[in-house]
Subunit: 333 residues, 2 copies
């Protein structure tokens, strides 16, 4: 198996990306094809004393930054490490592509270069997020501001296949993110999606779930239009950050509190780790003809390694084919 | 000033409601007109040794519970303490109405009996919520699943008047809840609302705000359609509850941690108080021809008292008239 990796994507590129790739090559045995400025990659490897001699490099001059317009991947930034990596995947130079770069551009580029599976209406961005115990997958978290009920039903189906095959949850519970749990809740979009998902025999649809209950294990796959999903995930993150920051402030306030903090340090660290948005590595872009994985933008080597492990599982589980079958089309792979 | 109070609304009715009313009468000097079963109110007063002799009671047999369909206020539950209170307000038996009962029914009933101000397209449910420092108002948090851009613009205007006059924030910052801060972000609804609010000279519009930034003071008034607002507020609450519960678990884990907990107890209590959803008493229903205030369903006496203080300010600030002028109609009061 060969994974194509954008060496210039993310806040900590290329150093942490390269370190993560080294870990993946050593621990998983996957081949790695790096995209990015070859001279800079080699310079970083030398500085970090990293041996990259067993990885190919696809030299490309451009970098698409976090601040670039996602649409720039079509023209101005079509020779960026992100665009080149996606085209390399399309052209069969590897089995999957992973990037910690610009999420919007990754979605646009995946659709443009790698293409959707036949029958897939839209790709969706589906991060795996922590909850009180374990995790859940949110589909869609922002690739599509406007959705049809049919799109939501496909998100549920694709999310279910991914969570079962890659994340190892048997018969994952699929729910619609809504303003109440009763069947008739929400607007026309949620009501129509509810009917479609109720008729979908291949998944375990549990109906509507309230946003309030999601952090406490309401479902394994949460279906939402991209606008609502994005507001949801950003609220999730924002509230957690502010609360953890407040607690940190309390623990630093005075000597007494600092001593108390030292006494619970191990448990607090574990707690922060459990609720770390990085812990599940990122988000698959579901519905592409080949596996594309978006790694957290702030990924360091460890997260990059987790993400590459999931990307490898994304390939080996053959779920692209499963999704293709489920939506009635066929996969390229 | 006389406030009509639903003595049978909320999880802790009638005891805590009555205690809160007693506090308000004593501290604020407002007259109180109670709606509900007179015999039960008198029995509770006697049991609690509360003197209610200076409060009127409007006897009504029915109670509309939290589980009742909001639409039941039109027919089956039209003689409930909630419906009777709203009609008493309409008929001039008091200056405002406060209930800790069924939110949906309060919105339906407010529109049905008290009516909207002339020019107001829809009333909105606008809770005041805690953030890292102070509070913000969210309009709408669930009264209207489907909204037009014009409705969103009115929510911003009404919310701004309320936050300035009742909550005491000078020139409050008004922002649209969106998936990014750039001007063009969101779907057609947010984009059109952005244009309308940009042209609105009477408010301080600061553009789009990301959900991630709201807990950390992005704006004083957050504008959203009721579906998005509801998902937002419930995520806010759900994440806070799960995180606080996890921390409680850490502090109870073993003797060492319990000792640490005792050392930071005062600070943790203050922190929980700062982030308590009850601390700001509840939500005005903005756009009614007379002031209607929805108190938190779980309100105890202290919260009820805070809510009645805000209700009194809602009346004395004359903002119903201001909102009427702002939307180009006229107030009944």
């Amino acid at each position: 198996m060969k994974i194509i990796v954008d060496a210039f994507g993310g806040d900590n590129a290329p150093d942490e990306i390269l370190k993560g790739c080294r870990m993946a090559k050593d621990a998983l045995g996957t081949e790695i094809l790096l995209t990015g400025r070859a001279d800079a990659i080699r310079a970083a490897a030398s500085r970090l004393s990293l041996d990259l001699s067993d990885m190919e490099i696809l030299d490309c001059p451009d970098v698409l930054t976090m601040d670039d317009d996602p649409m720039s991947i079509r023209r101005e930034k079509k020779d960026s490490s992100l665009a080149v990596g996606l085209r390399a995947l399309r052209d069969g130079k590897g089995d999957a592509f992973a990037t910690a770069g610009n999420s919007g551009a990754a979605v646009v580029g995946a659709t443009l270069y790698v293409k959707r599976l036949k029958g897939v209406l839209r790709v969706c961005f589906a991060p795996v997020l922590p909850k009180s115990t374990g995790f859940f997958l949110l589909a869609d978290s922002g690739a599509n501001n406007e959705c049809t009920p049919q799109m939501l039903a496909q998100f549920g189906l694709m999310g279910s296949v991914y969570v079962e095959k890659v994340m190892g949850v048997k018969q994952p519970r699929v729910g619609i993110l809504n303003v109440g749990t009763e069947d008739h809740k929400g607007g026309p979009l949620q009501q129509a999606a509810f009917r479609l998902l109720s008729e979908e025999k291949r998944i375990r649809f549990i109906g509507n779930v309230e946003a309030r209950d999601v952090p406490d294990d309401a479902a394994d796959v949460i279906v939402a239009d991209g606008f609502t999903g994005n507001v949801f995930v950003k609220t999730y993150e924002g509230v957690a950050l502010v609360l953890l920051d407040k607690i940190k402030g309390i623990f630093k306030k005075n000597l007494k509190n600092q001593i108390a903090a030292a006494m619970v340090l191990g448990d607090m660290k574990q707690f922060k780790k459990d609720f770390d948005y990085n812990s599940y590595g990122g988000a698959p872009i579901l519905g592409c003809s080949k596996p594309v994985f978006k790694v957290h933008g702030s990924a360091k080597a460890g997260t990059m390694f987790s993400a590459l492990s999931l990307t490898a599982k994304y390939v080996s589980s053959g779920i692209t084919g499963e999704i293709a079958k489920a939506v009635g089309g066929e996969a390229d792979t």
